[in-house]
């Protein structure tokens, strides 16, 4: 599904440069649910951004679904992002002047689907996250948990192969976090491959595998017994 080989990345800071990723090797199979952990500055977000094609590696190989991701033009990267990836952000990143349905349907717009189809699919995914009745509400009329669910529906809308979540519960209280995690787990149960960055131990334990980063290298990569979020809800 995803294969990373000797990945390097550094950022220029003034005259010097900061070496953030120092040779990462990682492979993820289809249907996995992986948590990437690490303290701040460990390079976990950078890794996620490179996987998400939002950023580019300086060195190393990255193959996603048998497609080598290298020297992408912005246009090609956009098309791959749309086709392969679904993003879930810590701060939801919904477009605040579009209602829930339009937000969910946005990736479909960029896929070039007809409006009718977009509405149909958008409503289907809103239904899936249990917010069909909120379809015509603007983001600021929704609670944090609802916003994140809309964001998840949006990430799912284009039916991506890989879901990337950057601290998906970072802005939510514990109870809502667990609800969101329960939902993400159910997506994984259905076969979605999920990669999430988190620094919360209990959230990481709800995944099936934990990759720990420190100073740009993988310190630990273990499969864990998945804690079901449903028991807390």
């Amino acid at each position: 599904m995803l294969k990373i080989n000797k990945l390097h990345k550094s950022y220029p800071i003034g005259d010097s440069s900061l070496h953030v990723l120092k040779g990462i090797d990682l492979s993820v199979e289809s249907g996995e649910m992986v948590a990437i952990m690490g303290s701040s500055g460990s390079g976990k977000s950078t890794l996620l951004n490179i996987i998400g094609m939002l950023d580019e590696a300086d060195e190393g190989e990255y193959v996603l679904d048998n497609v080598p991701i290298k020297n992408l033009t912005e246009k090609k990267a956009a098309i791959y992002r749309n086709k392969f990836l679904g993003f879930i952000f810590q701060s939801f990143n919904l477009i605040n002047y579009k209602n829930a349905l339009d937000n969910v349907a946005l990736p479909l717009y960029y896929q070039g689907l007809k409006r009718k189809e977009r509405i149909e699919k958008g409503l289907f995914h809103l239904e899936k996250v249990g917010l069909r009745d909120w379809a015509d509400h603007l983001p600021n009329e929704l609670s944090g948990g609802q916003k994140q669910r809309v964001a998840i529906a949006r990430a799912l809308a284009a039916n991506p192969k890989l879901l990337l979540a950057d601290e998906p519960t970072g802005a939510l209280d514990t109870k809502t976090s667990h609800e969101i995690m329960e939902f993400i787990q159910s997506l994984n149960d259905e076969g979605k491959t999920i990669l999430m960055v988190t620094h919360e131990e209990d959230i990481a334990n709800m995944c099936k595998r934990i990759v720990r980063l420190k100073d740009g290298v993988i310190m630990e990569d273990t499969f864990v017994e998945q804690v079901r979020a449903s028991q807390y809800v």
Partner: protein
């Protein structure tokens, strides 16, 4: 590429993002609207001024010069300086025969007379004229006719009076055709009335009588007061003036370098000055209008730039969701062009209203009549709009490029 222009979603996106931030949309539109409004208002007013000017001078043959006699300033062939020069009919005829490019030579004589009708009287300028005067200085006849050839040949005692005189000497709505007025005690039959109001070049004449009659009653003999010379359109009137004056000096034994012997008023030259002034004003109008337009376009660019900055995160999200840079740019440019067109059209409409307002308060039929038919040609308006759209697009490119030059990851980090 073209297809997307006809898709509902495209316009939905434009509508959403424009209505989302009403203040910025309105401010942008005001910039363009004001630019177009000023351009149209200024151009229309300049045109109106030109029109009213043409109306005033249109009845004149502008390619003409007035020549009159003064006294000599140089002794010549035994004559002392300071001799009073007199123009005669034969001078006029010789000029017509000998000077190149002449169209008409119209001799005129002018005097003051006490004019009486019933118990009303006044002192007015009286001039003796040929029918030809009507050709070089069009009289707008309100009633009756101008002097004709038979009047000249028979030395008839007929008079053509101005509207002003009619108002002063006749009772309201009183019939004046066929009525008699007294000029210095002699009865003249009124045969026509002309409209006053046109600019009067030369001495003011309220009453025109046949030239021959004038010569007779004032004992002028061959002497004439002054003459009006008009040139054919393709000839330079300044050249005609100096040719005619030289000939006159020759005929009247005057030193060829004598500058004072004949006075002249070159209408062509004066007219050119005013036309030059109008041209200058038109240039100024264009300059100001276009500068305002450009300022408006920059306002659009500026506000779009701020908007893009505000929307960096949104643009980042859109790109994460699969929007290509081209799609982002297209959207921003479309917004710019759309705003420009709408504001431009509003400017055109309100500019038109302003011109209508100007026309009703200063146009034909108003008291002043300084701006007649203030208008702008449709072509000019559309060219202005097209320029605006093109500039709007170009200026939209700057924020559009800025929007896509930011990496999506940086855009998303923006808080």
């Amino acid at each position: 590429m073209v297809r997307f222009l006809f898709e509902r979603d495209t316009w939905q996106e434009v509508y959403d993002s424009l209505t989302k931030n009403k203040l910025r949309t309105v401010l942008t539109m005001v910039g363009v609207w004001w630019g177009i409004l000023l351009l149209i208002g200024l151009l229309g007013s300049a045109r109106g001024l030109e029109n009213s000017f043409n109306r005033l001078f249109g009845s004149f043959a502008t390619n003409s010069v007035f020549v009159w006699a003064q006294s000599t300033s140089k002794p010549f062939k035994g004559f002392q300086e300071g001799r009073q020069v007199k123009l005669s009919i034969s001078d006029a005829e010789k000029i017509e025969e000998n000077v190149e490019g002449i169209e008409f030579v119209v001799p005129r004589s002018q005097s003051q007379a006490l004019v009486v009708h019933d118990f009303l009287s006044g002192n007015f300028g009286v001039s003796g004229d040929y029918p030809l005067l009507d050709k070089v200085q069009k009289k707008k006849m309100m009633k009756g006719r101008f002097i004709n050839q038979i009047d000249i040949e028979e030395n008839r005692k007929v008079a053509v009076i101005s509207e002003d005189i009619y108002k002063q000497l006749f009772k309201k709505d009183e019939e004046m055709l066929g009525e008699y007025i007294q000029l210095n005690g002699m009865n003249f039959k009124v045969v026509g009335m002309f409209e006053t109001g046109n600019v009067n070049m030369g001495p003011r004449s309220d009453i025109h009588i046949p030239f021959t009659t004038f010569q007779q009653i004032y004992n002028m003999g061959e002497e004439i007061g002054w003459m009006m010379i008009t040139g054919k359109p393709e000839y330079d009137i300044a050249q005609i003036e100096s040719d005619a004056k030289l000939l006159l000096k020759n005929l009247n034994q005057i030193h060829p370098d004598d500058k004072r012997a004949f006075g002249g008023f070159n209408l062509g030259k004066e007219f050119a000055k005013v036309t030059g002034f109008l041209k200058g004003m038109q240039f100024l109008t264009w300059f100001v209008g276009i500068a305002t337009l450009i300022a408006g376009v920059f306002a659009i660019g500026n506000i779009l730039l701020i908007t893009v900055k505000e929307r960096t995160k949104e643009i980042g999200v859109r790109r994460a969701l699969g929007a290509t840079p081209f799609e982002i740019k297209r959207q921003i440019i479309l917004e710019a062009v759309f705003i420009t067109i709408i504001a431009g059209l509003m400017g055109i409409i309100s500019g038109g209203l302003i011109l209508m307002l100007l026309d009703s308060s200063f146009g034909l039929g108003s008291e002043t009549e300084v701006l007649i038919n203030a208008s702008v040609s449709i072509a000019v308006v559309f060219i202005a709009l097209i320029i605006l759209v093109v500039l709007g697009t170009l200026i939209g490119l700057i924020p559009a490029n800025k929007a896509t030059s930011v990496k999506p990851i940086d855009a998303l980090r923006e808080e």
